[in-house]
């Protein structure tokens, strides 16, 4: 078998073998089957048989039975937590089809985080329904649905597949047009539940509160079926989102082939400076061996630029060329920025085995059906263990053996993982947190809720969390809510859902125009990324082809490109600067800290031209794009200047170390996603005049994390100290104060000392306040 041979070859390759720092084999597990629940209609059983599913796995049977409910009992909400490719879809498809066969007026609503996943699900469901000749109509409803089709979706769709954003701005605020759906809603399916965490998850939790209100109005009480990738707390997350206890189904009965897992730490190329071979070249080395051996692989590259570089390298490598000149490529890239049609083609080519290697961003991490591949290669640690497991899980399906390799980059976090394989391959994964009662998020959704349906007296207590009464009073004071007859009415002409985006970041995209002839749009890239990818004179790579950007029209958001063939690529530098715009609160010395609004500016400054393969710097240029601003909330904390005995380097080390600890633990305190918070360190901040650590939010305007951290600084420091003291490392690691810049730098010691001093300072400050 090709894979076994390929693994053996990797392990014996004189160049590569020494770099594999860990090999482990996860044993195959046999499938465990159960029988179909009695309540399931024979037509469904037959339809599934037609698709090659004779019996359900144990977890499928349990989830289906739970969602159908026992005779005379209410069905129970479910969250199914099993690895990639374990047949999660069936867990909700079967009960939904059953409900529709029992009662043709029954309806189901599916929520997927992205349009691509929704389209994928539509195809799959459509396949089952058509094969079996079941009278079930399924539609997607999103921004791409034509106005003419919308009416049909609203009135006659049995299964409506949409995304949270569309539910938020399109469906709930117009629920009177969806009477048929809401009156008959039996199931709400929430797939990829683990993606709803942090700020986005907190928004979705409030969105589901609104959904349940509307259901109650129409007399419906749908059962929620959620599916999640492996996280530490699926039951807790599902309960926080759905708003009531949920049964956890995590007894995976799906078979798993033997999986070989390996960690590859690239060779040291400069021993004096401790520099290792770059992750791109190292990944190319590993992936090209597999490619040459005929192993079908997926390569996860961290960034879009990396996707393109790797696609090109692998096309040039052995086994990367099509058999006949002019035949379609067998190595392809896949990332956001490709048009939907192109993506569907790539997915189909993968399933049908026409592609040998696909290089993707995490866009392919979620459940898009691409079939089982032989190997998964990760160019760098994806940031969380949950993501790592998802990406590795893309290799292997049913009982076939598979290989997963993580190639470490030189970043401290990657090096930490490379040194601690148990961290990555062990049992522990991160917990997903949401904070639906965050007052800013709840306030935005409260407005939407009042708009959708006046709040009655009971609902005015807690419809959107504990702050509801106070928020309503404040909204009434401003005039957007009017109370009459004991109910709270919307009294503004605004359409509140439009002002609230569930996700981070701007929605504006830069369109990429190949000037041709014939001129054609080849893709889109979001605005912040365009600064570094599509600036004038950039080499933009798309599906392994090089384009020269002749002009980036920043006003019109268009980049005009033409295909070229050059031996370099461009790498742009993005400078991030932070300024305090407004201080909302602050404490005086000895522990100076504060919170308020900051302006973060991104400025693409210069770009370098880097020669392919040798990675020499062969030139540079200036980027003439105006800077982009983000105004958001932030918390800041200063370090006292070191005592006269302390060296300047120590202050710096302490500042970096404390900052690293705080950004690591702040998400625990805030219960947010690590990505919702960013770190900036200023050795002497113009605002405070002191060494200052800024923790700022990703969301424009912020959601109040800064204030939260300001009020809870003592606890923040306490958790941070606890983490550092419990950490087994001696000199610092990415899990606590960050890795030492050089051995013996003593980061951990000075940072710990600084944390203690800060904690004492806060205590003293509190004492001063109490005394005064």
């Amino acid at each position: 078998m090709a894979l076994v041979d390929a693994v053996a070859a990797l392990r014996s390759d004189p160049d590569l073998a020494p770099c594999f720092v860990d090999w482990r084999t996860l044993l195959a597990e046999a499938a465990r089957f159960a029988s179909w629940p009695d309540a399931l209609d024979v037509r469904i059983v037959e339809a599934l048989r037609l698709r090659g599913i004779d019996r359900p796995y144990t977890h499928q049977a349990r989830a289906i039975a739970g969602a159908l409910g026992r005779a005379g009992e209410r069905p129970r909400d479910q969250v199914v937590v099993t690895p990639t490719a374990s047949g999660k879809t069936l867990c909700y498809t079967a009960p939904v089809l059953q409900a529709i066969l029992d009662d043709p007026s029954a309806r189901a609503l599916y929520l997927f985080p992205t349009k691509a996943l929704a389209a994928d699900q539509l195809d799959e469901l459509h396949g089952i329904v058509t094969d079996a000749g079941l009278p079930v109509r399924t539609f997607t409803y999103d921004g791409d649905t034509s106005p003419n089709a919308r009416r049909a979706v609203r009135t006659s769709g049995h299964v409506v597949i949409t995304n949270p954003d569309m539910l938020h701005t399109g469906i709930l605020p117009n629920h009177t047009k969806w009477v048929r759906l809401f009156e008959n809603l039996r199931y709400v399916v929430i797939d990829e539940l683990h993606t709803y965490r942090g700020v986005f998850g907190s928004h979705v939790a409030n969105l589901l509160r609104r959904l349940r209100r509307i259901c109650r109005f129409y007399g419906a009480d749908p059962v929620f079926i959620c599916c999640s990738a492996t996280i530490a707390n699926p039951g807790e997350l599902a309960e926080a989102l759905v708003g009531r206890p949920v049964d956890v189904v995590d007894d995976n009965g799906a078979p798993r082939g033997e999986r070989t897992v390996a960690l590859f730490n690239p060779p040291v190329v400069n021993a004096e400076l401790g520099i290792r071979q770059g992750v791109v070249n190292a990944t190319t080395a590993v992936a090209s061996r597999l490619q040459a051996a005929g192993v079908q692989s997926i390569v996860f590259a961290g960034s879009r630029t990396r996707v393109e570089v790797l696609t090109q390298y692998l096309r040039e490598a052995k086994g990367g060329r099509p058999l006949h000149p002019g035949a379609p490529p067998i190595v392809r890239g896949y990332r956001s920025g490709y048009l939907p049609k192109e993506r569907r083609e790539i997915e189909a080519a993968l399933r049908e085995g026409r592609l040998r290697t696909v290089v993707a961003t995490n866009a392919l991490e979620l459940g898009i059906d691409i079939g089982g591949l032989d190997a998964s290669i990760l160019a760098g640690y994806p940031g969380t263990v949950a993501s790592l497991k998802q990406q590795m899980g893309r290799a292997g399906r049913s009982s076939r053996a598979s290989l997963a390799v993580m190639v470490a980059s030189s970043s401290p976090l990657d090096q930490y993982v490379a040194m601690h394989p148990d961290f990555a391959f062990g049992e522990s994964v991160e917990a997903a947190r949401v904070h639906p009662d965050n007052p800013i998020i709840a306030a935005e959704h409260l407005k939407c809720a009042v708009f959708e349906l006046p709040l009655d007296a009971d609902e005015q207590q807690d419809a959107l969390g504990s702050h509801t009464p106070d928020l309503l009073d404040a909204l009434e004071e401003i005039g957007t809510v009017h109370r009459a007859g004991g109910r709270a009415y919307w009294s503004s002409e605004a359409y509140p859902a439009e002002g609230v985006s569930l996700r981070l970041g701007a929605e504006q995209n830069v369109v990429i125009v190949d000037q041709g002839p014939p001129a054609a749009v080849i893709g889109e890239v979001d605005r912040p990324s365009a600064m570094t990818l599509l600036h004038t004179e950039a080499i933009y790579m798309h599906d392994g082809r090089q384009y020269h950007v002749d002009l980036l029209d920043w006003e019109e958001l268009k980049a005009y490109v033409r295909p070229v063939d050059v031996d370099y690529y461009t790498d742009a530098h993005l400078a991030v600067d932070l300024k305090v715009m407004d201080e909302w609160d602050a404490t005086p010395a000895p522990a100076v800290r504060g919170h308020g609004e900051v302006a973060v500016t991104y400025l693409a400054t210069i770009f370098k031209k880097i020669k392919l393969h040798t990675h020499e710097n062969i030139g540079w240029g200036k980027i003439g794009i105006p800077q982009d601003d983000l105004h958001t909330g932030a918390f800041w904390l200063t370090l006292p200047e070191m005592q006269s005995g302390g060296r300047r380097g120590q202050t710096e080390a302490a500042l970096q170390g404390v900052a690293q600890v705080l950004v690591n633990v702040a998400p625990l305190l805030l219960m947010c996603d690590p990505r919702d918070l960013h770190l900036s360190v200023q050795a002497k901040s113009p605002h405070t005049g002191l060494p200052t650590i800024f923790l700022w939010e990703s969301v424009p305007g912020g959601v109040g994390f800064g204030e939260h951290l300001f009020r809870e600084t003592a606890r923040l420091l306490q958790i941070g100290l606890g983490l550092v003291e419990a950490c087994a490392c001696s000199e610092g690691c990415p899990g606590c104060v960050g890795p030492p810049s050089a051995p013996g730098a003593g980061v951990k010691a000075v940072a710990t000392e600084a944390l203690r001093a800060l904690a004492r300072g806060i205590e003293a400050g509190a004492g001063v306040e109490a005394a005064g």
Binding site: P173, N174, H175, T176, K177, V179, A240, H435, P436, D437, P439, I440, A443, E444, V450, F451, E452, L453, P454, S466, H467, D470, L471, D473, A474, L475, E477, I478, G479, T480, H482, A484, G485, R487, Y489, W490, S491, S492, E493, A494, Y495, P496, A497, G499, M671, G704, H708, R711, E712
Partner: protein
């Protein structure tokens, strides 16, 4: 869920913090509430909310609208204002009396495919709503006006039809349910199946009322009624000939209405209503109620006007002829279209609307099989200097290319246009360049086609005429 402990914070502090937060959130969109200073209903010079309250005692509904009555329904009570208009009532220059001339032909022209040709006058339900927003479940219909022609005793003792306007007003948000219930009772929507007459009611009023009924757990069914939506024929007949196709523009341009001073614009209606809700000063409702009444009466007047025009009981104004001509053309009756457009062209002053009408007349002639009548019109239009002439030349080129496959002729027209666009460069270089660039594409294509046609002489076409 663990919520964060804010142990040190008192309830009052929490409240104040949340208030401050809401203020910060709400500071973003600019409010649009203040009525214009010179408005007769605005007593304060700047219209500031507190000044307003301080200077004048709020007036109750019955003080401001003496004919208002409270109406009890199963869904609570609302306010109803009823006004009867005699048939001598004029909307602008248009008397309601002309409603008698409305015939099946009127409906066939204004609302084809609705199956309303046989409808009796008494079945018509003129309707217009005022809402607090354009869409979504949070926009409520707080004022609904209906109009019907009903038999009424006249002042002289005899009976005859009169236009009875009823306005259903929710004096607070919960009363919307009663507004709908009263409306449904009176209009007999479910039993009698009236025919709606609205302006954009297909897209807005009817679905909105049905949606609002759902919100109040009532069933309405306005969307299923037969419907004369006058927006459609006004668009067909007059788009481009008026500043826009909004009802207030039709009222001034077609009916000859002079807008009352300080009239509330549609966009300001929600703001005025919200101010009323807070201040309870019914004077704030006056401009809304007047505006709403006028819109419904205008619907009757528009229908009456087209009835009279088609019955040839009223001499058409230039815009009437334009509209009639275009409506006939849309139905495929090019001979009648040509007659109306001819009349419009004869009386319209030289302007954009005339140029457009001239071309439409040419097209009507051509479609009616009278190309001989079309060509001189084109030539006339093409003689106009500047951009209008350029447009016509392009039209001529299109007609010659696509209808007659006379590529050399079309090419000649384009070349003439290019010459003129070049001449324009001295006065307006940007426009000139844009035209030259646009014409270059057309010219290149025509040259290709002309060359190909020359190579296959069998497909050549005879001379124009």
């Amino acid at each position: 869920m663990v919520t964060t402990a804010r142990a040190a914070e008192s309830p009052a502090e929490v409240r104040e913090r949340l208030r401050a937060l809401i203020r910060r959130l709400e500071a973003r969109p600019a409010p649009r509430f203040a009525p214009p200073a010179d408005h007769p209903h605005a007593e304060g010079p700047e219209g500031d909310e507190r000044d307003w309250a301080a200077r004048a005692r709020p007036r109750a509904i019955e003080e401001v609208f003496p004919s208002a009555v409270r109406r009890e329904t199963d869904a609570g009570a609302c306010t109803v204002i009823e006004v009867t208009y005699g048939l001598d009532h004029l909307v602008g220059e248009q008397p309601l009396r002309d409603i008698a001339h409305v015939s099946p032909e009127t409906y066939a022209l204004l609302a084809p495919h609705e199956g309303v040709e046989d409808v009796a006058l008494g079945e018509l339900l003129f309707l217009d709503i005022e809402s607090t927003g354009l869409g979504g479940a949070g926009a409520m219909a707080f004022l609904v006006a209906t109009g019907r022609f009903e038999e009424r005793a006249g002042i002289d003792g005899g009976a005859g039809p009169a236009f009875v306007l009823r306005q259903y007003l929710a004096t607070s948000p919960p009363e919307e349910g009663a507004v709908l219930a009263a409306l449904l009772e009176d209009a007999d929507v479910r039993g009698g199946e009236p025919v709606l007459v609205t302006y954009n009611g297909r897209g807005f009023d009817a679905p909105m009322l049905d949606g609002r009924a759902t919100m109040h757990r009532q069933r309405a069914g306005f969307d299923a009624l037969r419907h004369v939506d006058l927006l459609a024929p006004m668009r067909t007949g007059l788009r481009g000939a008026m500043e826009s196709c909004r009802l207030c523009v039709v009222e001034t341009d077609v009916l000859g209405l002079t807008r009352p001073p300080g009239e509330v614009s549609g966009a300001d209606v929600p703001g005025w209503y919200f101010r009323f809700l807070r201040s309870r000063d019914a004077r704030l409702l006056v401009p809304i109620v007047e505006h709403n009444a006028l819109d419904v009466v205008s619907l009757a007047a528009i229908l009456a006007r087209f009835g009279a025009l088609l019955a040839e009981q009223r001499a058409p104004a230039p815009l009437d002829s334009v509209a009639l001509g275009r409506l006939h053309a849309a139905r495929g009756d090019h001979e009648r279209a040509a007659a109306h457009l001819q009349r419009a062209v004869a009386v319209l002053p030289p302007c954009g609307a005339r140029d457009d009408t001239l071309l439409r007349l040419a097209t009507a002639h051509r479609r009616a099989g009278r190309r001989d009548l079309a060509v001189p019109l084109w030539q006339e239009a093409a003689a106009r200097p500047g951009v209008p002439g350029l447009r016509v030349l392009v039209e001529v080129a299109k007609a010659l290319e696509h209808d007659r496959r006379d590529f050399p002729g079309a090419l000649a027209a384009v070349e003439e246009a290019v010459r003129r666009a070049e001449a324009l460069a001295r006065f307006d270089p940007r426009t000139s360049r844009r035209w030259i660039e646009g014409l270059a594409v057309r010219r290149a294509r025509l040259e290709r086609r002309a060359a190909r046609q020359a190579a296959t002489p069998g497909r050549a076409v005879g001379a124009v005429g």
